[in-house]
């Protein structure tokens, strides 16, 4: 018998989603004594907590970004491994978002709640695939929770890029990518499409590329694009953080053709705002169809939406007999990373 209400197990607080009996906060946006982190993106994984539970990969990413002393103490967890926190069983399960990303599964008094963090359902050569866990409460992101966001097949987007590289051999294809996850996935997708030439990377991507390689993700020949050189990088593919595209740094390249890989690129006005000439719709977040697919597959008693476009999903839930509510948590949803 269930003796507990879902809201007794999990409750939104200003610091983030709090597991009250377990005495920890998931992806806290302010300093807490006990944190559980879903994945390494900066809006979810922040430094300065007391004790941190996360996957070994996520802890490594945090150490890489913030330095070894990013938390008072750390507790690495393997996928599928269960630990007990004040009577709450906590299990980390792959979320398919980036390397090390995990859903946090909590069980107490016969109730199961899953906080998905950010997730996607399609294949990604750089991380373990999302595993559906039957639950009473499914806490989902809603970054792309509008029916306009339906990401096309990755391979087709990569084909567009490679065709453009062949059509404009005198120009540098300068691709804006988030340093964690998107960069490495794009490199792997290019390799899968048979692109074997060196790929050039902005210095800000170097450490995370090395970290992925150390975790067994093969990226092929990578070269720095930041050295002082007279090289103009004609015909090359260069990856850089999105905000460097229009900056002075980009002037070293031969007539750079600005490319941006993100789910936002599905909407033309968004691509125009960024002055992108080749928008690639490649995202690490579930699109509308994947969100719906996940809700239908799990069919939890309640769906809670943390951050993103919630209104359309609430409408969908009403039409389809789901019980859904929007938590409207603040502090999540990094524009650059989606």
């Amino acid at each position: 018998m269930k003796s507990m209400k879902p809201s007794d197990l999990l409750r939104p607080t200003p610091a983030g989603l709090c597991c009250v009996p377990g005495d920890f906060v998931i992806d806290p946006v302010r300093s807490v004594s006990r944190a559980v982190i879903t994945h390494g993106h900066g809006d979810h994984a922040r430094p300065g907590h007391g004790a941190v539970l996360a996957t070994r990969e996520t802890l490594a990413i945090m150490a890489c970004c913030y330095g070894e002393d990013f938390a008072g103490s750390v507790q690495p967890a393997r996928y599928g491994e269960t630990t007990l926190h004040n009577g709450v069983e906590v299990t980390l399960v792959p979320a398919g978002h980036v390397l090390g990303s995990a859903q946090i599964v909590m069980r107490a008094s016969g109730i199961t709640a899953v906080v998905s963090g950010d997730y996607k359902r399609r294949r990604d050569p750089t991380c373990a695939p999302f595993e559906p866990v039957p639950c009473d409460v499914f806490v989902s992101e809603a970054t792309f929770g509008l029916p306009v966001f339906r990401h096309p097949d990755d391979a087709g987007e990569i084909a567009k890029l490679l065709k453009s590289v062949a059509q404009f051999p005198e120009r540098t294809h300068l691709i804006g990518v988030y340093a964690l996850g998107k960069a490495q996935r794009l490199i792997c997708l290019l390799r899968e499409a048979g692109y074997e030439k060196p790929i050039y990377a902005h210095g800000a991507l170097g450490k995370l590329n090395a970290l992925y390689e150390a975790h067994g993700v093969k990226l092929g020949p990578l070269l720095p694009a930041t050295l002082e050189t007279t090289e103009r990088f004609e015909g090359a593919i260069v990856l850089a953080p999105p905000d460097t595209l229009g900056e002075r740094w980009s002037r070293r390249f031969a007539d750079p053709l600005p490319v941006f890989a993100s789910g936002w690129m599905r909407v033309k006005a968004r691509a125009r705002q960024r002055r992108v000439e080749l928008p690639l719709v490649i995202s690490d977040h579930a699109d509308w169809d994947e969100l719906i697919q996940t809700f239908e597959e799990l069919h939890p008693e309640e769906v809670w939406l943390t951050h993103g476009e919630e209104q359309a999903l609430l409408r969908w839930a009403t039409l389809n007999g789901f019980c859904a509510r929007a938590l409207s948590l603040t502090g999540y949803g990094d524009e650059e990373e989606a």
Partner: protein, 537 residues
């Protein structure tokens, strides 16, 4: 249809003209007939579907999707065609073949009104999001990918390669899907017939006169002079009953000027200026603008802004191609032809009499009142020159009036496109005015993005980055007040009243003439100076 939709998607995001040419050339080269021919027709604006209205698209999506979910999506995206393309819930009838562009065109041309929605739904089911967008844009008649008919023809010409003038000259005898044209461009057949009456003839263009160098070499007696009118260059064709009005790039603009066409009481081809004229007196360019870009003007627009052609050259008279005759001979034939035509929509551009260059310079500096006062300057044409397409050096010169100059203060800067995407290269500048409380404030009066060297661009970019006070997306506001600011000497051709601009004025062709690093911002010009120019003009 996939190759076509990919092309449109690329073109829509590609600002550079050369890159657009590459994209189109590759598409025309790699796509088979008749597909590419229909694409060419779409790009040059030759395709139109009467039966497909936005209401059909709305009904189609309403039959498939919850109205509230659609409304949320439409609010977010803004554009109806794009929203439908993105949200369209395909029925999942796997195996449905994507329609080819030619199939869409053929089917729609014979489709009945009540069949259109069903056809549309089937196609939307079979296409991907890019394909759906291309289809919906095609049906609603607005591709809006920044390609002019001329640019598409230029891409076509690069296939053979030949000069675009050759394609333009053939164009009006050709019809979609243009298989003969492609065959010739790919060296598979003879040049298609060019005997179709009423086709466009490529125009002759003038070099800009360099006062410092050219006058020493030129003999005043060799040249005729006439006013350079401030309208648009057109070709008036009346040949074997075919009457057309072409822009200088060969776009057929007849539909916008039925009143002008009706006045073509001659047999031949006239090169001239399209102007709005009230009883033979030229009106301002802004009146002409009321007529341009209107596909089919209503009766009121036609009577308020009556247009006509001011003739200055003759390319064909009856059966005689006059282009190989000297200008002197063409001119006398033109004078006689215009006199015979007795049309209120057609008059003659008069010659300006002069004995020597200094006399002509004085006339240019102080044109007589009336029409010449509205002219952009003078044209010089060698009496013995033949009519030669393109821009040959020597026979024709344009000698524009000196531009107006004003000192303005840089207020905002925006990043450019393409090669300039890392530079703040588009500058909004303002002049001083007094606000209600009597304080002197800057008010924006225009925007310029050329007129400076690459080195100056680097300096301007540095100034913008170092003096930014606020950012709005790609735009930066720079410090500009009484004590600090960068003064730009701006040159422009003319000034118009404008209700769209806060300052009430709009400049024609503004550009940066000089950067006044030395001039204090408080000494820049006042809005009153511009207002006085308006009164004079």
């Amino acid at each position: 249809m996939r190759a076509f939709s990919r092309l449109l998607d690329r073109l829509a995001f590609t600002p550079s003209r050369n890159a657009k040419l590459t994209l189109m050339r590759d598409y025309f080269r790699d796509t088979p007939d008749p597909e590419r021919g229909w694409a060419l027709a779409a790009l040059t604006g030759a395709l139109g579907f009467e039966v497909a209205k936005p209401s059909v698209i709305r009904r189609a999506i309403e039959s498939r999707m919850d109205a509230e979910l659609f409304a949320l999506s439409h609010d977010y995206v803004g554009d109806l065609a794009e929203t439908v393309a993105l949200v369209w819930p395909a029925k999942g009838n796997a195996g449905t073949q994507e329609p080819e562009l030619s199939e869409v065109v053929d089917t729609l041309q014979s489709a009945l009104r009540h069949d259109v929605q069903r056809l549309l739904e089937d196609w939307l089911d079979a296409l991907d999001a890019d394909g759906r967008w291309a289809l919906l844009k095609l049906l609603t008649g607005g591709l809006r990918v920044g390609v002019s008919a001329r640019l598409a023809k230029q891409a076509l010409a690069s296939l053979r390669p030949i000069d675009v003038a050759e394609v333009e000259e053939l164009w009006h005898g050709q019809h979609p899907p243009y298989e003969d044209l492609f065959a010739w461009l790919e060296h598979r057949s003879e040049k298609p017939s060019r005997t179709a009456p009423g086709r466009f003839r490529p125009v002759m263009l003038a070099q800009a006169l360099d006062e410092a160098v050219d006058f020493e070499k030129l003999n005043a007696g060799d040249y005729a002079a006439e006013w350079k009118w401030d309208g648009i260059r057109v070709q008036a064709v009346s040949e074997h009953g075919v009457k057309r009005l072409f822009s200088r790039t060969g776009d057929d603009i007849s539909h916008s000027f039925p009143d002008v066409i009706a006045g073509f009481c001659f047999e031949g081809i006239i090169d001239g200026e399209l102007l709005v004229m009230h009883d033979g007196t030229v009106a301002s360019f802004s009146e002409l603008q009321q007529r341009l870009n209107r596909k089919s003007p209503d009766a009121k627009t036609i009577t308020t802004y009556p247009a006509g052609v001011r003739a200055y050259d003759l390319l064909l008279e009856n059966e005689t191609d006059t282009r190989t005759l000297p200008f002197r001979e063409r001119r006398s034939r033109l004078v006689a032809l215009v006199a015979r035509a007795k049309s209120p929509r057609l008059d003659l551009s008069p010659l300006v009499e002069f004995a020597h260059w200094p006399e002509l310079a004085a006339i240019r500096a102080n044109p007589p009142p009336g029409d010449p006062d509205r002219a952009e300057g003078l044209m010089l044409k060698r009496w013995d020159s033949i009519y030669e397409a393109g821009r040959p050096k020597g026979p024709w010169f344009k000698w524009k009036r000196d531009p107006h100059l004003i000192d303005a203060v840089l207020m905002y800067a925006q990043r450019g496109h393409g090669k300039r995407s890392s530079f703040y290269s588009d500058y909004t500048f303002g002049v001083w005015r007094e606000d209600e409380s009597g304080t002197r404030v800057l008010t924006p009066v225009g925007k310029a993005y050329f007129g400076f060297t690459d080195e100056e661009l680097r300096e301007l970019d540095r100034f913008v980055r170092n003096n930014t006070v606020e950012r709005f997306g790609p735009v930066r506001a720079v410090r500009a007040d009484r004590d600090f600011g960068l003064v730009l000497e701006v040159a422009f051709e003319g000034l118009q009243r404008s209700t769209r601009h806060k300052s009430g004025v709009a400049m024609r062709f503004p550009r940066i003439n000089r950067i006044r690093w030395d001039k204090p911002s408080r000494e820049a010009d006042e809005l009153a100076t511009l207002e006085r120019m308006l009164e004079r003009g």
